[in-house]
Amino acid sequence: MEDTGIGLWGVPLAIFAGAIRVSTPFIFVSLGETITERSGRINLGLEGTLVFGAMTAYAVAVMTGSPTLGVLAAMATGAIFGTIHGWICKWPKVNDIAIGIAMMQFGLGLAFFLGKSFIQPVAPKLPSIPLGGWSAVPQVQAALNINVLFFIGAALALFLWWAFRNTRIGLTLRVVGDSTDAARAMGISPDRVRLLATAAGGSLAAIGGAYLSLYYPGSWNEGISSGQGLMAVALVIFARWNPIGCFLAALLFGGAGALGPALQSVGVTQGYYLFYAAPYVLTLIILIATSSPTRSLAGAPGALSLTK
């Protein structure tokens, strides 16, 4: 009997590989939402944007044969969804959370409607970079086949972290997010900044969708997301509106999500439903551990309707 398994090493490897494979949509959606929330607005509709982005990317890739064009088309539709959200929310007495939920349902419905005919065809996939050439173990090679979007997401997290502190645009965004009145006094139009921030956020969320349909799992159907867009919005609060925190939290969720299948594959088979709950249990533990009785939500933008 030729043993090609890697035994218990499969668990840490699966968590590592899962962290990279599964996290990318979380990274993009949560970074997008960070931009939006830093401007003082919440867009809960990113689940709809994600799924619509997944559909658009898949459809365009099928029709043109180019997955890159698919990603760009997804970004464009994401920006449109964000713009609609931002435009509606600028009117007085409009609640951004309610609009977000409406936009989510709209995005899902429209994606299912337009995506009907693209469930069957097979789209070309986004390329990945094989970084595992140094290893003779095929499992390690497979784990280190990393999609280029993951690196873009990591770089983007660093860039945003730097840009929020050190660029004029970053400062403008934070002023608008922390105090609408102060921004107005400085001659900044809060509505315009928020519109652009929501459009940028939507555009990034749609990249997350494109990753789902064009790389991993790499297929378009109506159950492709299973709530990842919503989870990523929650990740932003978990990460305290910090882009690098978003990146790390996304990795944590990806890795924890890989735990259940990996444990079953090495023979730890009892109670898999509990292992599947691991990401959420982990979130609860971290939130409780980092909570403070004296401060409320450190780093929260002051003008966010969530914290008002």
């Binding site: 009997m1 030729e2 043993d3 090609t4 398994g5 890697i6 035994g7 499969g10 490897l13 699966a14 590989a17 899962g18 494979r21 599964v22 299912f112 009907k116 469930i119 069957q120 097979v122 499992q139 497979a142 784990a143 789902l212 991993y216 799992p217 790499g218 297929s219 159907n221 109506e222 159950g223 492709i224 299973s226 990842q228 999500g257 890989a258 259940g260 299948p261 990996a262 079953q264 594959s265 090495v266 023979g267 088979t269 009892q270 109670g271 898999y272 439903y273 599947y276």
Partner: protein
């Protein structure tokens, strides 16, 4: 409604006590549709009807009966296994005038379809996969299913010849009897080729979870499995992921050879068109629909995908010989002695279950050689 319900139930109970000669109660709603040729039939799917899987197989069957004279087909996709399906059934009955309903997903049966059947005793419900029991379940309901376990046994034979690592993998949704039977059949088929083969199973916990199915497939292959099959609603993700990692694939529900190319060994497919045609013919001619309809490969309920190029000549021979034996009706997949993977004897020596044995439909054990647990 709450006031009407007990009365309906009483009517229904009286009728079923009398053996429910369908339609003996004078038509309250004036619809004796069962005896007429014009018939509105409702199909309810849990997912999209072009999912390369479970729902597509049913929708292809529905498309067959749509062409039959007098048939009006109403369909609804993406109906969750919650109270939503009850609303869908009510709207099909009251708004579309459907008198024969096919709620096709496992979780629709209890309590949703049973509740609707009690409320609408004159409507016929036929559910895919549920274990209908006489006396326990209403007479206007019933279940139909195919013995696709035989197909998974044949998949296992193809897998047994293809595997080099002697480890094969199974991505399963939920540990219900039909899934468990498929897992066991797959391994028993492989072990008929080489008794040292083991089968690793990973349960994802849901019928359709694309990312988790991909993770499960990767985890199986990381642990050395080199042939993978599955029982999830849409095998597309599993098939593509496994073939992408270089593993062989056995299909399920529908033909996925286009997705895995030469990595596709064979696959167990449904042939629902035949089943639905029989139901409709019975309904249109006023005959009995049957409450417990079952059939396998030899009855045309199930078929196999054509063998792929990777199946060896030896494998092809054994596959075809076993298929011929199944077609003759003399073959049983579960022949004692069989132990479960905890060491208990589950099928005693000398016992052989025919494909239609009722014991197989409540299977809760994984046989020896399957690495996994149902809880």
């Amino acid at each position: 409604m709450t006031k009407l319900l007990p009365m309906n139930r009483r009517n229904f109970l009286q009728a079923s006590a009398a053996g429910l000669a369908a339609g003996t109660v004078p038509g309250l709603f004036g619809s004796q549709a069962m005896a007429q040729t014009a018939l509105t039939v409702g199909f309810i799917y849990v997912g999209p009807k072009d999912d390369y899987g479970y729902n597509q197989a049913h929708a292809e069957g529905a498309a067959v009966i749509k062409k039959m004279p007098g048939i009006t087909l109403v369909e609804e996709e993406n109906v969750p296994e919650t109270v939503d399906v009850q609303k869908t059934m009510e709207s099909m009955i009251n708004l579309d005038g459907a008198t024969l309903l096919f709620p096709t997903s496992f979780g629709y049966f209890d309590p949703h379809m049973l509740a609707m059947a009690a409320k609408y005793p004159k409507i016929q419900f036929r559910h895919c996969g549920g274990l209908w029991t006489e006396g326990k379940h209403p007479a206007n309901t019933g279940s139909y299913f195919g013995y696709i376990g035989q197909g998974q046994y044949l998949n296992g034979i193809a897998a047994g010849y293809a595997t080099k690592s002697k480890k094969i993998g199974f991505v399963a949704a939920k540990p219900i009897p039909q899934v468990v039977q498929n897992i066991n059949s797959f391994l028993l088929g492989a072990r008929s080729v080489d008794p040292t083969i083991t089968c690793q199973v990973i349960f994802t916990g849901e019928w359709s979870l694309a990312v988790k199915e991909a993770e499960a497939t990767n985890a199986l292959i990381d642990q050395g499995a080199d042939v993978v099959t599955c029982h999830v609603d849409s095998p597309k993700v599993v098939v593509e992921t496994a073939a992408g990692r270089g593993a062989f694939v056995c299909g399920y529900h529908a033909n996925q050879s286009a997705l895995a190319k030469d990595k596709y060994l064979t696959g167990a497919e449904w042939a629902w068109g035949n089943v639905y045609t029989n139901f409709i013919k019975a309904a249109q001619s006023g005959g009995k629909l049957g409450n417990f309809v079952r059939g396998g490969l030899k009855d045309g309920f199930v078929k196999m995908s054509p063998l792929g190029p990777a199946v060896s000549a030896e494998g092809r021979k054994k596959f075809e010989a076993t298929l011929a034996e199944i077609m003759s009706g003399k073959f049983s997949v579960f022949k004692g002695p069989i132990k479960d993977n905890k060491g208990n004897v589950v099928v005693t020596a000398g016992t052989a279950f025919a494909e239609d044995a009722i014991e197989l439909e409540s299977m809760g054990y994984l046989v020896e050689g399957v690495v996994g647990s149902t809880s």
